[in-house]
Amino acid sequence: MIRVLAVARNTVREVVRERIVLVLAIFGAALVAASQVLSPLAMGEGKKVVTDFGLAGSSLLATLLAVFLGSSLLHKELDRRTIYAVMAKPIRRAEFLVGKFLGLWTTTGFLLAGMTLTVLAVLTVVHGETPWILFGSLLLTVMELGIVTAFVIFFSSFTTPGLTAFFTVSVIVTGNFAEQILYFGGHGDSPVLAGMTNALYWIVPHFATFNARGMVTHGIAVPPERIAFAVTYSLLYMGALLTVAGAIFERKDFR
């Protein structure tokens, strides 16, 4: 565990070096500007617009950062040959991979939390309300981000950064269509297609499980039971992905 955390700590430093704090500053400035511009146009719905755009923007930015920063993380280690120095130490490859995952997830998770706090601050200052229930949605989005990060690590364990980003974005899109895939497959004439779509449904992550943005925007708190379900689901899913990624990485030829 100490070895994993050491890798995670280094990964956090490496990602932070990419000046991602700038993203937070830009996001904050954009949100304040948007709230000033859009609130008067929204005909009394300014608070809703700021909340929606704030939550959607923070989730989208954190996801994109996880995909694009994460897809080159492992590749850089191989490219610069720093991985040989790490592997010379008493650490298993799978541990190294989990460390990378934890480092990336922690960084993007904190960034997401920072952006959510910015949304809260803007709502408090501009609209005079502090909807603490946004933290329920934040927690679910952090868990969703964990699955996305696990996919990034999984794909980068066997393919190039470009393909890692492409495959992960494809998974994000498919995961958001999961319910529709199941529905349309089940309502067709072909039992083969129905079987295939059913299988695809059970494999892809069900991202709708983590989407409580609409709920909190309308003032409804996310029930703790739902949070518990989503957290457990995402931990199981991440576990599955990292197990396979670790197995692949153990067999990877670094030459």
Binding site: M43, G44, E45, H206, R213, T243
Partner: protein, 224 residues
């Protein structure tokens, strides 16, 4: 023997992964029945909004805001030019597809359709759609009563809606007052003035402008 052991060892992570995935899926299936309202069947009922909703990739409420802002812009543009708002119902339908709990589009869309386009039936239909999606919302029921009163001059139905609104949670005190007035003063101009004055208190400047115009008209009628 060593070969078999190696194969089992190689397969083990995948079996663990399948077990974890199955556990997650099972949990999700149980959770879905509890937490997710409305499914793909409901979406198919509104084919025009279905594509937009799917393309939103989980950001439906933000997409609804974009559609709402576009709808307001559309209304504002046509209000200054040809006074034709043919697409307002369609835009508000899309907003409702994307975010069924967003109340203002039903109210504003219903108001424009009934008052500005002189199509109260369409306006009431939009409000009814909102009411079905938000059965506990007093505002939508009250607004339906308002349209019945000022647009359709159906005072008995208006009275029923006001009474209904006054029984829903979170209703303001004036809902009860209107419920009482509507049955006693059916067709009364004073009642219409009070109803229009209520619109002045909304945060929608376009609705406020129409209310001012109507109040002016009612005032002139009273003087004659």
């Amino acid at each position: 023997m060593t070969q078999i052991r190696a194969r089992v060892a190689a397969l083990a992570p995948f079996l663990v992964a399948v077990a974890l995935l199955a556990g997650g899926d099972l949990l999700d299936a149980v959770g879905k029945a509890r937490f997710q309202s409305g499914g793909a069947d409901e979406l198919l009922y509104y084919p025009s909004g279905l594509m937009v909703r799917q393309a939103a990739l989980g950001y439906e409420t933000a997409a609804a805001d974009v559609a709402w802002l576009r709808g307001i812009q559309y209304y504002g543009e046509h209000r200054l030019t040809d006074q034709k708002f043919d697409l307002i119902g369609h835009v508000m339908d899309i907003v409702a597809d994307l975010d069924p709990a967003f109340i203002q589009p039903y109210i504003f869309g219903g108001f424009v359709l009934a008052q500005e386009m002189k199509q109260p039936e369409r306006g009431l239909l939009l409000l009814e759609r909102g009411r079905v999606a938000n059965p506990e919302n007093w505002d939508l029921v009250f607004e339906a009563g308002f349209l019945h009163y000022v647009c359709r001059h159906d005072y008995a139905t208006a009275s029923r809606y006001f009474t209904w609104a006054s029984r829903l949670p979170g209703h303001p005190e004036y809902a009860e007052r209107f419920a009482a007035f509507a049955s006693q003063k059916a067709g009364n101009r004073g009642m219409a003035i009070l109803l229009w004055k209520r619109v002045l208190a909304t945060g929608n400047k376009y609705m406020q402008e129409v209310a001012r115009r109507e109040l002016k008209r009612l005032g002139e009628e009273e003087q004659r």
